[in-house]
C-alpha cells in the first residue's frame, strides 16, 4: 500500500507522484508581456512616490514601471538593480503587501495597488534571461575585502564593492551561496533554482571570489581576516534557533522549521521527503507560514500554526496568513506550547491558552491537546558564533551608521546586525550601504 495523507507518523510519498510539481509551482505565475502592460498602465507616476519611500532599497518604482510601459523592460531592470542587485529575488519574496504595494496610492484609491512586485519580476526576468550582466567594474583599486556570509547582505555588499574596483572574497559556511534565498525561503517563491541562477548572474561582474564551507570558527577567525584584508563585512545571519522550553522538546519529530525548509529546498525529489500526518508549527512569522504551507503541500493531512498572541501580532503578513489558510493550514491564536507528549516520538502537543495582561503575556491555565507527530519550531533565530571582541546589542552585532561595528575595519549587516527587520530587501540595503561606507573608508 503506498502512503497517503492518512498514513500515521512521519512518512514520505503521501501524495501521487505528479502532485508535487503542481503543489510547488510558482506561487505567482510570472506576468506575460500583455499582463505587464496592463499592470504598468495603472501606475500614476506619483511625485516623490510613497512606494519608493516604503521600499527599504528605495527602488525608483514609478520610473521602472514607466520604462516597462514604454517597452524597455531592460532599462526598467537596470533602474531596479541600481538600487537592489537582488531585485529579482526581492520581486519574489518581498512582502510587498506591507511595503511598496501597501503604500501605493491605488491601494488608497481602490484597494488594488499596482502589482509592483510582479512588475519588478517581469523587468528583472527580462534582463536576466539575456544572461548579460549590466554592470562593469571600476578600475581595480588593489584593496581587498572579506565578506563573511553569502546571503542577501553579503552578496549585495560584495557586488557593490566589486563594482567599485575592490577585490572581494566571500565566505560561506554552506556549500552553496545564497544564504536564506537558497536555504530559507518557501520553494514556491523561488522556483527553477532561481536563487542559484541569481548568484551566478551577480558574480558575472567579476572580482568576487567565493569560498564555501568556511565560517568563523570553522576555518576562519576575525583576527586573521582583519589581518589579511583591508576591510571585513560580516553577514553571518542568525544560525541559532530559539528553544521551546517545554517538556518533550527532545522527542523525535520535534525539529527546527528552518532545517525543514532548508532540507526541502535542497531535496531533489520531494516525494522522498518525509512529513508528518499531523504537523504543528509553533510561531507566527514568515518562517512559520513557509513551513506550515510546505508541510501541507507535501501531503500532511492536518497542519496547524500555533501562535502565542493574536493574529494582528503575527510577523507573517495578512497575505501570508491568507495564503496559509487557502492551503488548508489552521491558525490557532493565543496559545503556547506546554508539553509534547509521546513515547520517544511526538504524538500530541499540549497547548495552553494565553492572554495579554498588563504584566505581559500569560497562560490562562486552560490547556488542550492536539495530535502532533511532527512539530516545527519557528519561534525566531539567534545570533550564533559571533566573534569575540564585537559589541553585541539586543542579541545582535551592534552597528552604527551604515553597518560600522565596534571594531575598526569591520562592518556588519543583514539579520546578524542590530536594527533591520529580518527581510531580504533590508539585508540587501544594508549590504549595499555598508559597501559604500567601506568604499569611502578605503578611499580615505
Amino acid at each position: 500500500m503506498p502512503n497517503s495523507q492518512l498514513t500515521p507518523g512521519i512518512v514520505a510519498g503521501r501524495l501521487p507522484d505528479d502532485s508535487y510539481a503542481e503543489n510547488f509551482a510558482d506561487l505567482h505565475a510570472p506576468l506575460d508581456a500583455h499582463e505587464a502592460q496592463v499592470a504598468a498602465d495603472r501606475c500614476y507616476f506619483c511625485h516623490d512616490a510613497p512606494c519608493v519611500t516604503a521600499c527599504p532599497t528605495s527602488i525608483d518604482i514609478p520610473l521602472f514601471i514607466r520604462q516597462i510601459a514604454t517597452g524597455t523592460p531592460e532599462a526598467a531592470a537596470k533602474t531596479i538593480f541600481d538600487q537592489n542587485i537582488l531585485g529579482g529575488m526581492c520581486a519574489r519574496v518581498c512582502p510587498t503587501e506591507t511595503l511598496c504595494e501597501q503604500a501605493c496610492v491605488r491601494e488608497a484609491a481602490e484597494g488594488k495597488p499596482v502589482m509592483i512586485g510582479q512588475l519588478q519580476r517581469y523587468a528583472t526576468d527580462r534582463l536576466m534571461e539575456k544572461n548579460r550582466h549590466p554592470y562593469t567594474r571600476a578600475p581595480e583599486t588593489g584593496k581587498r575585502v572579506a565578506v563573511v556570509g553569502a546571503g542577501p547582505a553579503g552578496l549585495a555588499c560584495a557586488h557593490r564593492l566589486a563594482m567599485h574596483g575592490h577585490d572581494v572574497t566571500v565566505y560561506d559556511a554552506r556549500n552553496k551561496p545564497g544564504g536564506l534565498n537558497e536555504y530559507g525561503i518557501a520553494a514556491y517563491k523561488a522556483v527553477d533554482r532561481f536563487a542559484e541562477r541569481e548568484v551566478s548572474w551577480l558574480l558575472q561582474i567579476g572580482g568576487i571570489r567565493l569560498e564555501t564551507g568556511k565560517a568563523l570558527g570553522a576555518g576562519l577567525t576575525l583576527e586573521a581576516l582583519r589581518e589579511d584584508f583591508d576591510a571585513v563585512f560580516l553577514a553571518i545571519g542568525l544560525a541559532g534557533v530559539n528553544a521551546l522550553r517545554a517538556p518533550g522538546e527532545d522527542k523525535a519529530g520535534v525539529e527546527d522549521a528552518v532545517s525543514f525548509i532548508a532540507e526541502l529546498r535542497q531535496a531533489s525529489d520531494l516525494s522522498a521527503l518525509p512529513i508528518g500526518r499531523n504537523v504543528v508549527v509553533i510561531g507566527g512569522g514568515m518562517t512559520a507560514v513557509d513551513a506550515a504551507v510546505q508541510a501541507r503541500l507535501l501531503g500532511a493531512q492536518n497542519v496547524t500554526i500555533a501562535y502565542r498572541r493574536g493574529r494582528d501580532r503575527m510577523g507573517a503578513s495578512k497575505f501570508e496568513q491568507d495564503l496559509a489558510a487557502s492551503r488548508g493550514v489552521r491558525i490557532l491564536e493565543n496559545v503556547q506550547p506546554k508539553a509534547i507528549h509521546g513515547n520517544g516520538s511526538a504524538v500530541e502537543i499540549e497547548l495552553e491558552y494565553t492572554e495579554e495582561t498588563p504584566e505581559g503575556l500569560k497562560g490562562t491555565g486552560e490547556t488542550f491537546r492536539i495530535p502532533a507527530d511532527q512539530v516545527f519550531k519557528a519561534i525566531g533565530q539567534t545570533l550564533e558564533g559571533a566573534p569575540e571582541g564585537l559589541e553585541i546589542a539586543g542579541g545582535k552585532i551592534a552597528v552604527t551608521g551604515a553597518g560600522q561595528t565596534s571594531l575598526p575595519g569591520v562592518w556588519a549587516g543583514g539579520d546578524c546586525a542590530s536594527g533591520g527587520d529580518d527581510l531580504t530587501v533590508t539585508a540587501v540595503a544594508e549590504g549595499r550601504d555598508a559597501a559604500e561606507a567601506i568604499h569611502a573608508a578605503l578611499g580615505a
Binding site: C46, D48, V105
Partner: protein, 434 residues
C-alpha cells in the same frame, strides 16, 4: 421619458444617432445589423461615379494611438470611397430602405467636379428611395489627389458650385460634409450655405500620421515599406470637432444652417455635448468600429436619462443650448477669481498636482511631510492644471471667490462687476482710445 426622435432637414429617425459614412456603412449586411442594433440612421459609405470602382490598398488601412490599457483614442485610415460597383450599392440601399422605412438613410457621394457627373448620379440615388445625400468634401487622402474630397472642401468656391449643382438637379435634402483640414471652418460652411445646402456635417477626418515604425523607419500603417498620411478620427479629435461645430453655430452667417455633428462621439455624453453646441444630430464611426454597433444602446439610454433628469422633452430643446456661452477670449470676465481646492478626504496622495504645479506652473501647491497637499491661495492662478492631472475625479475643484473678498495673490478686492480685456487698463487699445 424624453423623446429622442429626430427630424433633421426633414429626415426622420427614431433617435439622433446616425452612423457616419465610413466602413461600417459600406454594405447592406452591415447596415441591416446597425439598424437591428438600434441606430437611428446611416450615411451610406461614399459612392463614386459609374464605372470601374476605385481600388483600395491590400495592406493595412488603419493606424491608431492608444491610451492606458490600450484603449483606442485615435484611429486613422487610408481607405478610399466604396470599392464596390455602383449598381450593387444602389440595389442594396433600395433594399435596406424598403425594409427600414423609419430609419434615416442618406447616401454619401463623391464624383468629379463636373456638373455632368453629379447630374448622372443624383437620379440613380433618388430612385433608391434614400432620404438625402451627403457630399463628401472631406476625405484627405487618395481621392483628394484626384481633385475630389478635401480638394473640393478646401476651396469654398468649389463647395458652393457643387452644392448648387446638387440642389438644382435633385429634390433630395443635401448635407455638405466639411473637411477640418482648413484654417477657418466658417468659410466652407458659408460657401455651402450660399450654394443652398440644407445642412453641413462635420468634421471629416484630420490629415495625420499616427506613428512611425522605428525598426523600418516608415510611417504606420505600412504598406510594403511605405506609408501615407491618412484621416484621423476617434475620441482624440472630439475637441477639434466641438470647436468647429460651435464656430459655425455662433457665426451669424451660418447660425441657422442645421449641423450634423461628427468627430469622436463615443458616449451619450459626447453626443449631448455636440448637440448643445448646435448639432441637430450626431454621426458616429470610430466608437462603432471599436466596440461594435451595440454601443448605440448606451447612447440612447444615457441621453434619454440625462434629458429626463434635466427636464428636456425633446432633442430639439437641447440643440444649441450652450452656443450663447461660447465666446472669444476677449469677452471673458477678467474680474472673476477662483482658487483650487483639494478635498483631503478624496485625495489619494499621489502628488501629481504638486509635481505639475511645482515644475510647470505657479508653485501654488504645498506638500507636507505626511504628503498632505494644500493649495497656496496666494500663488494659485486657478489654471486648472491640478484638476486635470488629478487621477480622482472631483477631488480638486475650482472655487470662485466672492466679490468683496481679497485675492491673496494680488491683494486686490474681487470685483462684482464684469470686466473683460476690451476695457482692461493693460490693453493698448484702451489707451489708444483715451
Amino acid at each position: 421619458m424624453a423623446d429622442l426622435s429626430s427630424t433633421f432637414v426633414g429626415i426622420k429617425s427614431p433617435n439622433p444617432f446616425w452612423l457616419a459614412s465610413a466602413p461600417p456603412t459600406d454594405k447592406e449586411y452591415n447596415v441591416r445589423r446597425a439598424f437591428e442594433a438600434g441606430w437611428g440612421g446611416v450615411v451610406w459609405k461614399t459612392l463614386g461615379a459609374e464605372g470601374p470602382p476605385v481600388v483600395n490598398v491590400n495592406g493595412p488601412r488603419y493606424g491608431a494611438i492608444w491610451g492606458a490599457d490600450r484603449r483606442l483614442l485615435g484611429l486613422n485610415n487610408i481607405e478610399l470611397i466604396t470599392d464596390r460597383p455602383l449598381e450593387v450599392n444602389l440595389r442594396e440601399i433600395k433594399s435596406v430602405k424598403r425594409d427600414y422605412p423609419d430609419r434615416a438613410l442618406v447616401v454619401s457621394l463623391m464624383v468629379p467636379c463636373e456638373e455632368a457627373a453629379w447630374k448622372a448620379i443624383l437620379p440613380l440615388v433618388e430612385e433608391t428611395g434614400a432620404d438625402g445625400v451627403e457630399l463628401n468634401f472631406g476625405c484627405p487622402h487618395g481621392m483628394a489627389e484626384r481633385g475630389m474630397g478635401s480638394a473640393v472642401g478646401q476651396v469654398p468656391e468649389y463647395i458652393e458650385m457643387v452644392t448648387r449643382w446638387v440642389k438644382q438637379n435633385s429634390r433630395m435634402p443635401c448635407i455638405v460634409k466639411l473637411t477640418p483640414n482648413i484654417t477657418d471652418i466658417r468659410k466652407p460652411a458659408e460657401a455651402a450655405a450660399r450654394g443652398g445646402a440644407d445642412a453641413v456635417s462635420l468634421i471629416n477626418t484630420i490629415n495625420s500620421i499616427t506613428s512611425v515604425n522605428l525598426d523600418e523607419m516608415c510611417p504606420e500603417p505600412m504598406i510594403d515599406g511605405q506609408g501615407s498620411h491618412g484621416g484621423y478620427c476617434g475620441p482624440a479629435v472630439k475637441p477639434i470637432a466641438l470647436n468647429m461645430v460651435a464656430e459655425i453655430a455662433r457665426n451669424p452667417e451660418t447660425a441657422n444652417i442645421p449641423i450634423s455633428g461628427i468627430g469622436g462621439v463615443t458616449t451619450w455624453r459626447d453626443a449631448a455635448e455636440f448637440i448643445s453646441l448646435g448639432a441637430g444630430n450626431v454621426q458616429v464611426c470610430t466608437a462603432a468600429m471599436t466596440y461594435g454597433f451595440k454601443i448605440v444602446q448606451e447612447m440612447i439610454s444615457g441621453l434619454s436619462q440625462w434629458m429626463d433628469e434635466k427636464g428636456y422633452a425633446s432633442v430639439d430643446e437641447v440643440v444649441g443650448r450652450a452656443v450663447p456661452k461660447v465666446k472669444d477670449w476677449q469677452d471673458l470676465n477678467l474680474n472673476y477669481v477662483a482658487k483650487a481646492s483639494i478635498n483631503q478626504d478624496d485625495c489619494i496622495k499621489c502628488g501629481r498636482c504638486f509635481a505639475a504645479c511645482e515644475d510647470t506652473s505657479h508653485q501654488a501647491i504645498a506638500m507636507s511631510e505626511d504628503r498632505t497637499f494644500t493649495v497656496k491661495d496666494d500663488e494659485c492662478v486657478a489654471c486648472n492644471l491640478c484638476v486635470n492631472v488629478c487621477p480622482v475625479e472631483g477631488c480638486i475643484t475650482m472655487v470662485p471667490m466672492k466679490p468683496g473678498e481679497v485675492d491673496p495673490r494680488t491683494g486686490e478686492v474681487v470685483k462684482e462687476e464684469y470686466g473683460n480685456w476690451q476695457t482692461h487698463p493693460n490693453n493698448p487699445a484702451v489707451w489708444a482710445a483715451e
